[in-house]
Symmetry: C2
Subunit: 446 residues, 2 copies
């Protein structure tokens, strides 16, 4: 099966039925759509922009192949002239976006697409599909980073991510947010993200004894000896590690760490630290894993547990306490006229927008202002041109994105950096120009 | 970027470091791993097997390409002999599994892999990654089906699914569970799942008036006229639909339905039904969408709302109230000896297992028994051989899987079919043979 991530048919049917209608009407005026989050999840004081690279990659490579066109034809829902037009389809529009790693809030456009309406409309479903997942993980990961400063955090989420693309997005997005790396090998290959990993319980079980398993592993991976010590009896295994460390030292092999994956993690880590220290193994690090999230990290560290790092899996990969965002991609302007959706409870701010962030003299964040693209409003602009005529302006190295996010997290107001819900949350003001435009649009369409 | 779903490097690094160790030891004895769910999520009385087709496809096509081998080589963690062995790697093992569409419970193996340990170990992460997501969606979808009998349910979840593969899995898994179809076009092309979809709010907004938008759409998609009526004022739009129906009838075009996506859905559907009926449009169906899940479906139908169908998106695609499963893939036997994990709170039942389901004379489910593969225990066996020597035994048509699931849901005990948590839940007994084996394993490894 070919890669669904590449197919223009990975979209909702209504995009194509609308396109047929636009095509019949000869509608190809410029449309402006913006992607934004309507409301932050209850447990999020901020979100982290991510997924832009995947989105731009998708737009750059978008075309219909022969098999896809043949399938649309046999469906009987589309005219031959329309299908001939689809065969030539390319995305030739512009994209403005917040760079990845930037912190943002509700109602702030993260990405804006300006293109002939058929192009801008067709890509809606996939743009949302890409951005939501990576924003969710980057934001969850940022909370983990904030709750465990100076600890090594590793993405263990691949197996519980929702499918292949989510697994890859989890590795990349958590790295952006400050994780040290990932267990997902393919993410290491694709993006040069540091990879972490040693052994599973099955490896211990497959050997006659834990000692035998540890020894076999150390000999096979002498530069990467982290031993999983909770398969049978964690403290007994810790004492084994002390004994083994002497034996391996004679071979020039150093045990770098032990991992505990079950039980009372805080309590066990203290006892294991004691056993290791008394055995002269002060250098061996302790890593924890198993159902961890930012709250557990905080509690374990608050309890003074001597932990060097954490592997975080499920809760990160599925953003367990907020597995979706109330995010949308909405028409804001068409054929030169601003538009807005007025459906009950789902009103949007019309027009092409910019977000400006104001700081005081110490660099502390004051508030953001949602304003018109070219309105004169104080503050740093957060959206930039990232694609012209269907071509990327430039690709950002992942290291730059990661540094940006670290710098954002370092400057974040402390109430927002806390795990508990900030009340009030961060202020996003609406500019006078935007209020005026919304009124004008309402008058026009009423 | 090549398709990550196809790469053997879409795995956790520890699989490869363990493989290097097994390779060095010359370990290639047969290992038996089973995938199962340790505990049902709080809001699930049962789960639905799904994802087997994707898993078998993955196993059949598993191999390392040149780029992947080169990357592993430059990482410096693997020996040349091991890399040469990886270059020849194929999955040649056997798979036993519950067929898709079958209902299952905690601790019951859904899939068992029997293969040389390196093969069986390498695939762990991806097998879990595939099965979890599809089981989650099939199970959530089954609850929607149970709460809205005889209604048309459509998967609208693509955009909020976590990435491309999850979107595809959502369409297929919800169809298995009894959804009428999906909005995801590519799922229609790949699996011949019926596709549904008409127009978005942006289409209405892009036109000078709702009437103009409705007319343009009907002319472009005369066989597929479902109109979205909540962009501005739902009741006003419903009256427009009545007027338009007469106009279109003269052109031989029939309006099939209207969709309401916001507001008080139950109340609006009643008022819209009244407007349509009074206007002689009794045939026009009413479809609802917008933040729906099985609870909302139940409430809307309990309120007597005249609804013909529902589009269900986010809550389905991310299984919002249970976005992950406590599911694992555990070593149960190695080199002819049964094994079990004893980590605190994570003990497993050892050995190759079968699940047998017993019914009374009326076909009512009594209980399941988790037993040894060849133990003589009453009841229908749920696991079958699905792959021999790395080749599928057969492919099941999706229609058969869907019928199986419908038949399972029809026979499900009513306490389990309810949305609320059944207490007690369904009984899964442990056979005497399994209890004895667990004791024997504990004696051997203590």
């Amino acid at each position: 099966m070919s890669n669904p991530a590449r197919s223009p048919l990975l979209t909702d049917l209504y995009q194509l039925t609308m396109l047929q209608a636009y095509f019949n009407e000869g509608s190809d005026a410029t449309a402006v759509f913006e992607f934004f989050v309507r409301k932050l999840p209850a447990q999020r004081n901020f979100l982290v922009a991510a997924g832009l690279d995947t989105a731009l990659d998708f737009l750059e490579n978008l075309k219909f192949n022969r098999e896809e066109l043949a399938w649309l034809e046999q469906s009987g829902n589309f005219s031959p002239a329309f299908l001939a037009w689809l065969a030539q389809f390319r995305f030739t529009g512009s994209v403005h976006a917040m760079p990845e790693g930037r912190i943002f809030f509700a109602n702030e456009p993260v990405l804006r697409i300006t293109a002939p309406i058929c192009q801008a409309q067709l890509v809606e479903s996939r743009i949302v599909n890409i951005l939501q997942q990576q924003i969710l993980v980057a934001s969850k990961a940022a909370r983990c980073v904030l709750s465990a400063p100076d600890r090594v955090l590793v993405d263990f989420g691949m197996r519980r991510a929702h499918g292949a693309e989510a697994a890859m997005g989890t590795a990349r997005s958590s790295y952006i947010a400050g994780f040290a790396g990932t267990a997902t090998v393919l993410a290491g290959m694709r993006w040069e993200i540091p990879t972490f990993g040693t052994m599973a319980h099955s490896f211990v079980q497959a050997h006659g004894s834990e000692m035998e398993a540890f020894r076999a592993f150390a000999l096979a991976q002498p530069d990467n000896v982290v031993l999983l010590i909770d398969t049978y009896d964690t403290l007994r295994a810790a004492r084994m590690v002390v004994a083994l460390s002497t034996e391996l030292a004679e071979l020039g092999i150093r045990i770098k760490g032990v991992r505990i994956d079950s039980g009372d993690l805080a309590g066990l880590s203290r006892k294991v630290r004691e056993i290791l220290d008394q055995g002269g193994c002060q250098d061996i690090k302790i890593l924890l894993s198993g159902n961890l999230d930012e709250y557990r990290l905080r509690d374990i560290l608050d309890a003074g547990a001597p932990v060097d790092g954490f592997g975080i899996g499920t809760s990160l990969a599925v953003s367990a306490d907020a597995p979706s965002l109330d995010c949308v991609y909405k028409l804001q302007e068409y054929a030169g006229l601003a538009r807005r959706k007025k459906s009950s409870g789902k009103e949007t701010w019309p027009g092409r927008k910019q977000v400006r962030r104001e700081f005081d003299n110490n660099g502390t964040w004051l508030h953001d202002t949602l304003c018109l693209e070219h309105e004169s409003v104080a503050g740093e602009a957060l959206l930039f041109a990232v694609m012209h005529n269907g071509q990327r302006v430039e690709s950002e190295p992942l290291s730059i994105i990661r540094e940006r996010c670290a710098s954002e997290l370092a400057r974040l107001p402390s109430a927002l950096a806390a795990l508990d819900t900030a009340d009030p949350g961060y202020s996003v003001l609406i500019s006078p120009g935007l209020v005026d435009l919304a009124r004008a649009v309402d008058r026009r369409f009423s």
